[in-house]
Amino acid sequence: MARIDLKNLAHAYRPNPATEADYALNRTNHTWEDGSAYALLGPSGCGKTTLLNIISGLLKPSEGEVLFDGKNVTSLLPQERNIAQVFQFPVIYDTMSVYDNLAFPLRNRKLPEKDIRERVMEVAEMLELQDDLKKRAANLGADAKQKISLGRGLVRSDVAAILFDEPLTVIDPHLKLLLRRKLKQIHARFKLTMVYVTHDQLEALTFADQVVVMNEGQVLQIGTPQDLFENPQHTFVGNFIGSPGMNFIPCRVKNDTASVGELRIPFRAKDHQGKTIVLGIRPEFLKLHAAPLQGTHKVSIKEVENLGNCQIVTVRFEEQTLKVKVAEGQEVPAERGFLEFPLEWIRLYADGKLIEPAMEPPPGQESRQ
C-alpha cells in the first residue's frame, strides 16, 4: 500500500484556462496517508470524479503531479499504476466461475496456484462468497456480481491503492449495510489505502477515516466526520454536512468584536479587514428555553416540524431565520422563546473560512474549547 501525494495538482478540461472557473479541479496540495481510507464527497459537478480519475490514471492532469510512495506516476496508465478499481457496475467475466473471477488478477501476475488459492479463499470468506465459488458468475444476481467485483479489487495484497467509484449504487438497500460493514472490517484488517467516491453522505462518512469535502473544484476540508461536524473549516462544509445544515448569521464588526444583537464574540479583527464575518452554529447546539435565562436571547417561533425523534424549530433572531433541533417531546413555546448560544459551539467565518479562536474570552464567560 502507498502514500499518495498530490503536488500542485490542477485540471482543466479545456486548453488555456484563465480563471478559477475554467478548472474542474483547482490547485491542490495534499498528502494522503498510507493505509488510510479517504472518501471524496461533494455535490454533483464538484470535481470528485475528476480527482479520482486523475489518481487512477484514467485522466492526465493538465498541471501538477501525482506521487505514489514518492514515485511520480502522473504519466502512467491505470494498468501501470498497480491499483485496483471497483466501479458502479460489476466488472466480471460472466463465463468464468466465481473462483476463477477472483483468481484472475492473481493469475495475471503469475502467482503460484497455492498462494492464489489461499488468497481467494480468504477474500471469498470475507465477502461470504464461499458457497458460490463453483458457480458461474453469469447465474448470480446483481448483488453477488458486485461482491465479486469488490473481491477482485481486494484480492491483490500488493496494490498501491484501491479506488471505489460509487460501488454500492446497484446494491439492494438492506444489503448495503452488510457490505459497508465488510469494507470497514476489511480496511481494519488489511490497512489498505482506499479512496472512495460517492454522493451518499452516510456511505462516505461511515466508510472514511478522512473525508475530503469538495465544491466547485476546490478541496475545502479534509477531516474526520467528527471534525466536519464540530469544526467545519468552511461555511459550505457547515451547510453541506448535517441535516439541517449549520446556521449562519452575518455579524457587525466593531473593534475586536463580532456582534449579532446582544451576542458578542471576540476575535482579532485586524487579520480579517474588509471581509464579511458570519457566525456559524449548528441546530444541534442551540438551546431553546421557554423562559429567559442569563445569556439567552429572545426569538420568535415561526414553525415547528415534528420529525418523530426530534423537532426542528424555525426561529427568527435579529432578522435572521435559524433552525434549532429540539428533543422529542420537549415543549416548544408557541410564540416566543429564549435562545442560548453555547460559546464553545460558536464559530466565526471570514469570507466563508473558519477563523481560529485567537483571543482570551471576556471576563465572566467560559473559555472556548
Binding site: P43, S44, L177, R180, R181, K184, Q185, A188, H199, Q201, L202, L205, T206, T224, P225, Q226, L228, F229, E230, N239, F240, I241, G242, S243, P244, G245, R282, E284, A290, P292, V304, E305, N306, L307, G308, N309, C310, K325, E328, G329, Q330, E331, V332, P333, A334, E335, R336
Partner: protein, 372 residues
Amino acid sequence: MAMVLENVTKLVANEKHIDSISLDLEPGTFNILLGRTLSGKTSLMRLMAGLDKPTAGRILMDGQDLTRLSVRKRDVAMVYQQFINYPSMTVAENIASPLRLAKVSPSEIERRVRDVAEMLHIEDLLERLPVELSGGQQQRTAIARALVKDAELLLLDEPLVNLDYKLREELRTEMREIFKRRRSIVVYATTEPLEALALGGNTAVLHEGRLEQFGPTIDVYQNPQTTRIAQAFSDPAMNFVAGKVAGNHLYLGATPPAPLLNHLSGLQSGDYRFGMRPSHLQLQRTTDSEIAFQTTLDLAEISGSETFVHVFHDAETWTVQQQGIHNYRMGEETQVYIDPARLYVFDLDGHLVVSPEQNSPAPSFRERSWPE
C-alpha cells in the same frame, strides 16, 4: 371537493397491484403515500389520476362517480420522479402550457406564471431552456407547471428522489409552505419515513397493494397499528425484543424483572413483542428505571450529524441512534439502555397493544405571563 376511493382494486395479469383500498381525501389536505418500491404507490396514483381504470371499486369526486372518466376530462396535475419538461420550450412556456390548453387569457397566464415561478424561486430563469437548468431547477419547473393550473387533484410521485440531498432538504421545506395555502387535494408518494415526517399532513402506509393505516402523519408514526407499519415508518427500522408480563412485572429478553409503570400498567400477563425506537436506545444510563441489555457493537454508520450504532443482541440486530458524531470499536461488548416508558407493545400477531404516552402537546404559552 373531496375524493373518495371505495374498495378500489387493480389486477394486472391476475396479480393484485392494488387490493381493495378505501380512502377519503379532503380538499386542502396534504396526503403522503408511504411504502417501499412496489408497494402500490404509483399504481394507486395512476388510478386516482384516471390513467388506469380499477378492476373493481369506485372513485368519487365530490359525490360524482369518476371511475370511468378519462384523465383528459379530469382536473388533475402530476409530477414524476424524472424531470419532465418540454425541451424546446422556455421555462415560462413550459409553466404556461396547461393554461394555454385551457385557453386562459394571455395577461392572466403571465400573471399566474410569474406568481408560481416566484413561489418556486425560478423567476429569474423564465427565459431559459430546460437543458440550461440544473436538475433541481428542472424539477422546480415541472412542479410549477403542475401548480399553475390549480387542479383539484395534484399528484407527486417521488418528485425529489433524483435530487442531491441538500436540494431535497431545501425543496421539502418549501413544499410545506407552498401547499399550506392550497385548496387542492395533494397526494405525495415517498419511500422515506423521514420525508413523510418532514412534510407533515396525513400519511397512508401501503404494503403489497394494501392500505395498512391512514391518519395524521405524526399520529401514524406515534401509534403504528402493527409491527409491519412500525417497521415501515421508522428509519432506521424499529428494534424488537421478545418479552413477557407476569404479575406486576415486565421481563424483556433475559433482563431482570422491572415494575409495570405508566402505559404498561394495564398489561395482562402473557407474551408480547416490544418495540424500541433507535432514538430511544441509549449507550449510557440516565435514570435508574432503565432496562439494560448486554450487546456487542457492530458497525457505526455516520450521517452528517448523527451516529447510527448497530449492535447485536442475541440473534437480533438493533440500531442505536445518537446525536452527534461518535467513534466506536466494532466487536466491543456494551450495554444498551431503554426507558420502559418508551416501549411499544405488540401482541404475538404483531398488533399494537399500547404505545408510549406522548408528552401532551405544547401548552398554550399565551396563558403564561412573559417578561417583555
